[in-house]
Subunit: 258 residues, 2 copies
């Protein structure tokens, strides 16, 4: 009788915020396939800036886009966070060993982490206790080169699968624009501020209308330990992020007043 | 000649995620008015679960709802985060001394902080370097009693105006359901998990549709230092939250591998 191997390959869940047709998604699928079975559940279209938004006011629709050995793809009429929740709760054949997001077209370094739908995927993975990594490229051009990032994403994911991550922590990985990549640096989040965030959107029918726009200003440009410094100097920036943002020191300090 | 007093009253910016007509907004305005001039900029309707979502795909419209001495009210077709950005960038007569959010109808304790549009207002205030407080009530009934919370919100806001907060930290305040309030406790965020998050939404025309639902499970119910413990024991829970979620310890640990 022939022996059947029952060794399961790792299951890797992918989501994103640029939607089903993003080149960054195709690149991330390519990066992950050699590492395990890949399950994709993504928004049906772009959801940039979705943060961890969710809604129970409208139902979501989901459907299988494709299915082949080692790669199953679903799309949903939902935010990145909800796609990730639905996949983990209802769609995957077994509990994922890794959740990865991206590759996002646009930086999610520094304070952008608060607005990002890409990092929301990793937040959700980490909240479920699954090692998670968000990948973003500091270039908003959707045609920007991605091929050189495929092996780097694979290496970071492979290492995360092997070593795991402490509970409640995910990795926010940002790649510099252009094809020069000097290496990978572990960083802290830079403090930056968005300024001049609105421009008038004139309309002949009247009303006060505005477009969101703005510029991001690095408030500590000389600090060499930040993600923005790393990106400006052609390094990939890896920031470990905690899902518990409690300012512990202040709990103790304020607690005295109880 | 008569002397004119030029002492400015503090400017307090209020936003929320339940929109212009929420009772929680009226209660928070009432709580803040004795403390300074109040400037309100809120979504035109409910935006629960909006997190820090933003968009540059559609313009927003804003308009003045009312204006009287000490109280100016604007509404926007935008998320809580965008309302707060727009107010600070373009609408307020001077830089706010305090940003407050709520009172939200529903708990934003524990991991809900990631999904909340209420805490997004405070995140945005803190990102701009302004002391910020988010207020929420652990009761989804929009008719729940709020009068007893007015003096508590006022006291916390007054104390924050007076003492300030460290840069990049805001207070996430949650009130217990019901009218019993034993006191205020400074806490850390409880780790909880949302489970059973989707229910099928059958439709005669077919397709796989789901409603978001779910139950929140406190994963550390015996820990007396968490916000969920405080709420269950009829205390208001105050959690200081950092806008920088970098896991600092891990930066050093992983950094060795550079």
């Amino acid at each position: 009788m022939q022996e059947i191997s029952h060794i399961m390959r790792p299951l890797i869940l992918i989501s994103n915020d640029d939607g089903l047709n993003a080149r960054g998604l195709a690149a991330l699928i390519e990066a992950m396939r050699p590492l395990g079975d890949v399950f994709v559940c993504v928004p049906d279209g772009p959801r940039s800036g979705a943060s961890c938004s969710i809604t129970d006011s409208v139902p979501l629709k989901c459907w299988q886009v494709s299915c082949e050995p080692g790669l199953e793809v679903y799309a949903c009429t939902a935010t990145p966070c909800m796609c990730t929740k639905l996949a983990i709760d209802n769609l995957v054949p077994r509990r994922p060993d890794l959740v990865v997001a991206g590759i996002n077209h646009g930086s999610n370094a520094s304070v952008n982490i608060h607005y990002s739908g890409t990092t929301a995927v990793s937040t959700e993975g980490a909240l479920q206790g699954i090692p998670s990594v968000a990948f973003s490229l500091d270039d908003n051009d959707t045609e920007a080169p991605l091929d050189h990032l495929v092996p780097v994403c694979r290496e970071i994911a492979s290492s995360t699968l092997e070593r795991g991550l402490p509970f409640g922590i995910y990795l926010n990985v940002n790649f510099p624009a252009g094809e020069e990549l000097k290496g990978v640096r572990v960083c802290r989040m830079a403090y930056s501020r968005w300024v001049d965030e609105f421009e008038p959107c004139p309309r002949s029918r009247g009303g006060r209308w505005y477009w969101l726009c703005g510029k991001q200003v690095d408030e500590e440009p000389d600090s060499e330990d930040t993600d923005l410094w790393a990106l400006r100097h052609h390094y990939a920036a890896v920031v470990p992020i905690s899902i518990d943002p409690t300012a512990r020191g202040l709990v103790e300090e304020l607690g005295i007043r109880n």
